[in-house]
Symmetry: C2
Amino acid sequence: MLPDQYPTRLERRMNMFYRRDPVIHGNIATATSGPLKQHHLEQYKKEGFLWFENLFSDTAIMDNLLKEFSDLEKDQSIVKSEQAICDSNSGSLRSVFGIHELSEEFARLTVSDLILGMVRQLLGSDVYIHQSRINAKPGFVGGGFNWHSDFETWHAEDGMPSMRAVSASLLLNDNNEFNGPLMLIPGSHRYHVPCQGVTPDENWKRSLKSQQVGVPDTASLKRLINNSGIAAPKGGAGSLLLFECNTLHASQRNLSPWPRANAFFVFNSVENALEKPYAGTCPRPDYLAAREATAGLSQVHHAQQVAM
Amino acid sequence: MLPDQYPTRLERRMNMFYRRDPVIHGNIATATSGPLKQHHLEQYKKEGFLWFENLFSDTAIMDNLLKEFSDLEKDQSIVKSEQAICDSNSGSLRSVFGIHELSEEFARLTVSDLILGMVRQLLGSDVYIHQSRINAKPGFVGGGFNWHSDFETWHAEDGMPSMRAVSASLLLNDNNEFNGPLMLIPGSHRYHVPCQGVTPDENWKRSLKSQQVGVPDTASLKRLINNSGIAAPKGGAGSLLLFECNTLHASQRNLSPWPRANAFFVFNSVENALEKPYAGTCPRPDYLAAREATAGLSQVHHAQQVAM
């Protein structure tokens, strides 16, 4: 097992420190061969995310995906499964995990040459899907998410050794000021904020509804936000957000009648395969964190066949 | 007792209907003699609120008020009193009522010729303070408020007969996209949305933390928002929002490190004195709803001496 470079879920408070991994991985050849331009790479390195407003402008693609999501929402065998998480206040569907395995439409998106091309530039290697999900916020009842780093959880609860993963979030609905768009702290990806609090067994059964451990302390949040503010990209369905696995993010409730569903695909480098969870807990189910390196590799192989 | 023009807190659902009161009261002479111009009056009539960014630009006034609020926050005899409401999740101070009686600085503001002048134009008569409060949202912990009409509560639980009151909200801190600014539904003041659900005894002991009755149904909210959207005025400390007593409003949690405290002064027409609560409950305490017409009148008299 690799040494723990990012201690977290600690009994005592520990100050935040600079990340030990590069933000853009690989070498000049891998970083420059793909759809992202030099200014994209520089922005990603500095801010920890890239925003492409209305990237997928083909409404037929987006209509198909929304239809697919609507079918998933209606499928009681999915809604009642462990892969579906309901909001603890309203009971409405909050998240569905493993969407690239539930839906051919979403699977195709994860292997599109555009998204895969960008992700490979950033991670400097072949990649596989670590996790996929839709986070849904129906009008008036969709709940928010507190500030957190995804990597912090994937490291502690899934055993992801290094910060070498990226999330691609595709907007299935328009995201505006009032329906709970994703908020990010630019530059926060450059720091590891160790979190206080030991991880309970099967924490994910609670944490996916409301995160209690793996929550950064407010002093660190304040320092990071006062440094560079908060960004909340807004735009139409088909816009894409790429964000580094360690970029702190959060979102508000949906207080509008306008539903907000975003699909997330988390790409991990095949050179960053999962170890035992660093929090010492049992590994989470496969739909939350794919543990099979071969599955990852075949995914990439499939991707190359379909999209490249 | 005047007949109930605005049935609410009902056992069965009842559709929303047009308000039975004018939006601007009095006559042409009262409406046009004051600081508000014709275009202000038209906008207020249409949207139900007026926004004056950085109206009180004198930083000394604002510093004084913030200092005063900070003193109130530290005063344990106030924080532990019934006039102070704490957030049910974080325990942080959420509201302090009766601030114009607790603080000379805030009292002076309620009788400033500018604010009183505008309010009299809108209400077409002399006025008194029905309620005053500060709603505070400290960084990271300040909770939000669901959509509601203040008049709906004042009518049901305080016995305010007609829609003839206006709230003046003064920003004590900068309000931005991330610290939970007030959101309003433009035009919603033109409709009464009867709410379903009978009012429990001493409802205010719970409702000031989290409103459960007096909540408009989502179908009506959706219709009103789809009609004219949502507005969330943002600006520096010293900005002023005047909003009609029946304009639907809400706000998000404060997910930023930037505190957000707004002072509210509710002016009611002396011709709209409180009756028995229309919900059939006991009247709420005086710091939530001033019941003394004489107090109101002396207030106005004092106002005239000081400010006019």
